[in-house]
Amino acid sequence: MTRYFTDEHEWIEVEGNTATVGITDYAQGQLGDIVFAEVPAVGATLSKGGDAAVVESVKAASDVYAPVSGTVTEGNDALADDPALVNSDPEGAGWFFKLELSDPSELDGLMNADAYKAFVDSL
């Protein structure tokens, strides 16, 4: 399993040809109290960098982008009842969706944990 990060503050954990996607701890801290999350429908086709999900804090709505292209295999239904999971466990139970990768080579441009940490520190 390998975890990658985007400069839009999503994480993606890849196992074989499938992956789990969420937003980073830094992202949830910036957003503040999450009151609503909308995950993509199973079967939805996502393209790298396109809108994938929506996360809303008290103050504003923000898009979650697809780190890579693929087909959604599962959405995290727990977020409907408990959107605050994104605050309390953003890089675990607060995941957004799983997808089957359509082009694994797209992972090449993403950051690893060290590179993402350096990126966040530079903000």
């Binding site: 909308e38 008290v58 103050k59």
Partner: protein
């Protein structure tokens, strides 16, 4: 609102940063959006007391020859009847009766004390200067800061350090002493809770903020919670829920058109406003309860079936309600309480119902009320 890249500093800027605030640009100033989190700050204010820095707002003194009578040409309130130490909410009207700003006016021994919104204060001052007689002086108190202390324990907390504040009732104001420092304090605010607003010399505001936050009931609260609190209280946010294209009747502010002025007229837009009062406005600002959990925000169109009948002007999650709520303009025939409507958010329809405001009851300390 304003997202000016150049942010001006308010007297408490560094104080907010030291308290862990996240600063954003608002009305051209660097201001705290939140400290610990909007939800916690909102709920703290409803239970205890929250300290808000509202020093971006414009504080003016109108003095000279009968400023109340002069101001009445531009606002629909009965300002000349205001007794010393009394305050009133009013609206600055353009020639066509559109709302240029909402404001507070208090009668003081030195003239009318007027508080206007930060984002439009400079244009307000220019408008007042152009439209009030030359015999009226307009003094912009740029060397004063403004704090709001809001919540059910606010008055108890401030009275501990500024004796006598608890003697004020809602919409009353007076001069008090904090040690030797004069404070102009009104029992008012914009959260729906009891509380006060405190005008103080800018160079002394940091010490006062520290003294207030040393009280166990008091925590600093950011703009994020200020917005969610006022939305639950059904209070319009200027520039969003009312603006120059809306008149006071449409803006759900008919109460600001005083009885005597309804008879006499004589203010900007009186024809339009008195006609709307008599016949009902073509559209009206109403509260909206939202079904489900998805927030409906400013700009979302409102539908009755296939026909668009309105637009959301403020909306978000309401921490004390525990659900999303909104305010918006809805056309006559669709805006009575309980009417079922839909908003469109990201291509999806969200059920709404026209709701009575406030969403959370006001808890003002009114004179003559039995508590």
């Amino acid at each position: 609102m304003s997202d000016d890249t150049e942010m001006r500093e308010l007297p408490l800027g560094d104080w907010h940063r030291a308290k862990g605030a996240r600063m954003v640009s608002f009305a051209g100033y660097a201001m705290p959006i939140q400290y610990k989190g909007i939800m916690a700050e909102h709920l703290w204010t409803r239970e205890n007391a929250g300290l808000f820095d509202v020093s971006h707002m414009g504080q003016l003194i109108l003095s000279g020859d009968k400023p109340a009578e002069a101001l009445e040409a531009l606002v629909p309130g009965d300002i000349s009847a205001l007794k010393e130490g009394r305050m009133r909410y009013s609206l600055l009207l353009g020639a066509d009766g559109g709302v240029l700003d909402d404001l507070m006016v208090a009668a003081t021994p030195t003239g009318l004390y007027v508080v206007v919104n930060g984002a439009v204060k400079h244009q307000d001052i220019a408008y007042l200067r152009a439209n009030l007689p030359g015999s009226i002086n307009i003094n912009h108190l740029e060397d004063r800061a403004l704090l709001a202390l809001q919540g059910p324990k606010a008055v108890e907390a401030i009275t501990r350090i500024v004796p006598g504040v608890d003697q004020l009732y809602f919409m009353e104001a007076d001069l008090f002493l904090w040690g030797e420092v004069p404070l102009w304090i009104s029992r008012s605010g914009y959260t729906g809770e009891d509380g006060v607003e405190i005008s103080i010399a800018a160079d002394l505001v940091e010490a006062l903020a520290d003294a207030l936050c040393a009280q166990p009931e008091v925590k600093p609260i950011g703009l994020g919670a200020r917005d969610s609190l006022r939305l639950e209280a059904g209070l319009p946010l200027y520039g969003h829920d009312m603006d120059p294209t809306t008149d006071p009747v449409e803006s759900n502010a008919s109460f600001a058109v005083s009885k005597s002025r309804r008879v006499e007229g004589g203010f900007n837009g009186a024809d339009r406003i008195l006609k709307a009062l008599a016949g009902g406005p073509a559209r009206k600002l109403v509260g909206l309860s939202v079904e489900g959990k998805m927030p409906v925000r400013e700009g979302a169109p409102i539908f009755a079936g296939e026909v668009q009948v309105g637009v959301v002007t403020s909306g978000g999650f309401a921490p004390s309600v525990g659900a999303p709520i909104a305010m918006g303009y809805v056309a006559a025939g669709h805006n009575s309480i309980g009417t079922a409507l839909e908003a469109e958010v990201r291509g999806k329809r969200v059920p709404l119902a026209v709701a009575a405001m406030p969403f959370i009851p006001h808890r003002y300390h009114r004179r003559g009320a039995s508590k």
